[in-house]
Symmetry: C2
Subunit: 470 residues, 2 copies
């Protein structure tokens, strides 16, 4: 049994180093952060304005520009060291006048369906588009059916999200190829249009939009694509089973305009010890246009703003330069995220930590991390600090789309992971609205993010220390 | 360092015994339970009926009796070994025609307030009650103010729930004395009525009812008590500050009738090995009358019914006799819980485990246990089985009101602990309605309860084995 000794010794060393890290002061700091946000938080008030005074913030829209101006102005009130706009050109796709659709079981016998154009879709012809429907469950099934049976028809992608997956983002990931690539693939087989079952785990009447791509298809080959609600999809599927030659009609009026100027909104508290090492926290300021983008991602924006506000409020002076970045155009281009990373590289700014909140404003459960073992183990050493706040989930995994372009072997990337069970009830739909966000849940998320930022700032990342030694 | 050896050996033994307990079969069983409930669950459909077809189920009401009949009929469809009604006499308090209230800042200058009578309160005089208001933060402050300044006035209890407490039930526990004992105490100082700030962490316009008691006060000394919304409480408080002689008027029409016959609804799968050892799972079928009692506690009832339905569905034959018990009258009497325990004692039925769900139908986080160390450690040995389902919270603490009377030194008591952040937004208010319950969250709770029941049934409790040895 001698060989157990090294394990025991290493265990003791680990425990001792944990003891050093998770100290009383940190525990009190987290208590202060959570109590302050729950009694004097501002995130909910900011979200109220973004959602109810401004509304859905599609890239290139007036609402998006209003949100840029509003959040810049609010950040300027916080007494940060710098607040500025980072210019970025963004795509401008518009929905136009509302879509219209029906199922025709016989000439003149129609059932009206609620649909919405997918983001980036072309319009239908002016008079709309009517054709027979081929229902498929996957891109693979489409290929197996082949051109002969698809040509001239509307392809209906109807694979539902897998309800047995506890992590609903996995269920989303298992379906979203239908929405993103469905039109491109169907067009290759001569389809004239595409209708996609909404990415929603709930049965309801709301169509959910989201980005799609035509890949390399020339403009002339692009076919219109729309989403239908989960109830609508079941109705359409049942209609096809009863009457295989049922026709689907839809009319949509979306357009693409030339790229327009927009901005990432950035605020900074300059670091007291490492002013040239950056830690950022952010969400995306743009949203889809159907709701007001409260969960996706107004919540992440106001929580990120709250992190810096809390540091000022509790008079914590960070060692590193801490930035809040409100990214523009996550939904249909990721131009803001790319721009931020490009400029960071160009200016030789060393980013050591980035945290994104883009999974809704629900009760926080923890974080996922895109990092190496050493940095991840440091995070695990902090986990007991979070336990009183019911934050239990620390796992390796993705972080956030906007901070993804910053990835290199130095930076630690993290994503807030709120409870995800209700998220896809609202995601990209007209019910992604302020009333679906609970104030305390939003605030607890902000406190949880602030706590992690504090710990990373205080203890640094592996790369902080390596670079410091040099 | 020799003294580390015993620790290591004990660690290895623990790990080995964990290895035996948390085996592959259990892991697959939990997978089966969660997948079945998420694809073929029935709890949401049952709750729809209880909430939308029946509605609020105040003890002694027609709705409560409808709920007894409905759930009995539904349990009978499940192919259980026994389904029966356990008679219990319950109090019958009625709200009568809606309450009416206003603040009068000067004769004829009034602001109408939404209030509701507290459960168990007496009515106001027929013409209503109008008096000056004394605002207090606590029963202690009431006593300090004394009879001279209280006599002839309405006492306004305005201590809010503490928003910094992460466990919202603790914040509730820190306030509820105002509602429960406020009238009894104020009457002792000659107050003529009581208005209590609603137990709600959110600012809104909804009054929240709940039980109150007059203790030993003779009927002639009882004064009417109502709840005012959080916004209303702030308004009243501000009005008093501006004009200390502001008057509060309220009229309520509640009545107490003689006790009426009602029932606990019980279903049983008889145990294959220990038919005379009982494990029960339950919630309470009665609710307050303002909403439809979806979270409190329709959710707990349908989740408990689902536990037995799932055992049948996945063809699991429990070793112990498993009962679902839908308790009557938790809200204003606990008669059902007491009756069940009395009859268990009378019939000499050995109960070894009881689980209650009465904290809302939100995303489950884990359980609290009222038990000894040995049984609790067994629970902890199962925790890794729950991790894939994001169930992390296993703590000692309370269980549930209805199962409380079963407590002895043999039984393990447990309570489901869902995310509690939204709970008091709805608790005892008119927005405790079906639309506030998310289907997946409800189902995940049912699966989590079923999983715990399965593990307790399979591995027993300490007392199971002790009694077996005898």
């Amino acid at each position: 049994m001698k060989n157990i000794f090294p394990i025991v010794v290493s265990l003791l060393i680990t425990l001792t180093s944990l003891g050093q890290k998770v100290n009383e002061k940190d525990s009190l700091m987290l208590r202060d952060i959570y109590s302050t946000v729950l009694t004097e938080g501002k995130s909910y008030q900011w979200l109220d304005h973004l959602s109810n005074e401004i509304g859905g913030r599609l890239s290139g829209s007036i609402e998006a520009e209003k949100a840029v101006n509003y959040t810049k102005k609010e950040l300027e009130k916080l007494g940060l060291d710098k607040v500025w706009l980072q210019p970025v050109m963004v795509p401008k796709w518009t929905r136009g006048i509302p879509e219209y659709s029906f199922i025709e079981t016989a000439p003149g016998i129609t059932s009206i369906m609620d649909i919405c154009a997918l983001g980036g879709s072309v319009a239908t012809p002016d008079g709309g588009l009517k054709a027979e429907v081929v229902e498929v469950q996957s891109l693979e099934q489409l290929a197996a059916i082949g051109k002969e049976k698809i040509e001239g028809k509307i392809v209906f992608y109807n694979r539902p999200m897998d309800p047995t997956l506890i992590h609903t983002f996995e269920a989303y990931g298992g379906c979203v190829d239908q929405r993103y690539s469905g039109a491109e693939e169907a067009a290759k087989y001569g389809a004239v249009g595409v209708v996609v079952r909404s990415m929603n785990l709930r049965q309801d009447d709301l169509p959910h939009t989201g980005s799609m791509s035509y890949g390399d298809l020339p403009t002339s080959k692009r076919i219109p694509a729309c989403a239908i609600s989960t109830n609508g999809a079941d109705y359409l599927s049942a209609a096809i089973k009863l009457k295989p030659d049922v026709k689907f009609f839809f009319k949509q009026n979306c357009r693409v305009f030339p790229d327009v100027q927009s901005y990432n909104v950035i605020g900074e508290i300059t670091g007291s010890e490492f002013p040239n090492k950056f830690m950022i926290v952010g969400g995306h300021l743009d949203s889809w246009d159907l709701g007001d983008g409260s969960h996706d991602d107004g919540a992440g924006c106001v929580q990120s703003m709250e992190v810096l506000r809390l540091f000022k409020k509790i008079n914590y002076k960070p060692r590193h330069s801490i930035r809040v970045v409100l990214f523009m155009n996550e939904e249909n281009g990721l131009r803001g995220g790319r721009k931020y990373a490009e400029e960071a590289t160009m200016k030789n700014e060393t980013h050591v930590f980035a945290l994104e909140s883009d999974s809704g404003g629900f009760s926080p459960r923890g974080f996922t991390f895109d990092t190496d073992t050493a940095n991840f183990e440091q995070v695990l050493s902090w986990s007991s600090l979070f336990k009183p706040y019911l934050i239990h989930y620390f796992e390796k995994g993705g972080s956030g789309a906007d901070i993804g372009p910053l990835k290199n072997d130095q930076i630690v990337l993290a994503g807030l992971r709120p409870d995800s069970q209700r998220y896809f009830d609202h995601h990209h739909a007209s019910n992604d609205t302020f009333d679906a966000v609970n104030k305390r849940e939003l605030e607890l998320g902000a406190a949880t993010m602030t706590s992690l930022m504090y710990l990373f700032d205080k203890y640094g990342t592996k790369s902080t220390f390596e670079t410091v030694k040099k």
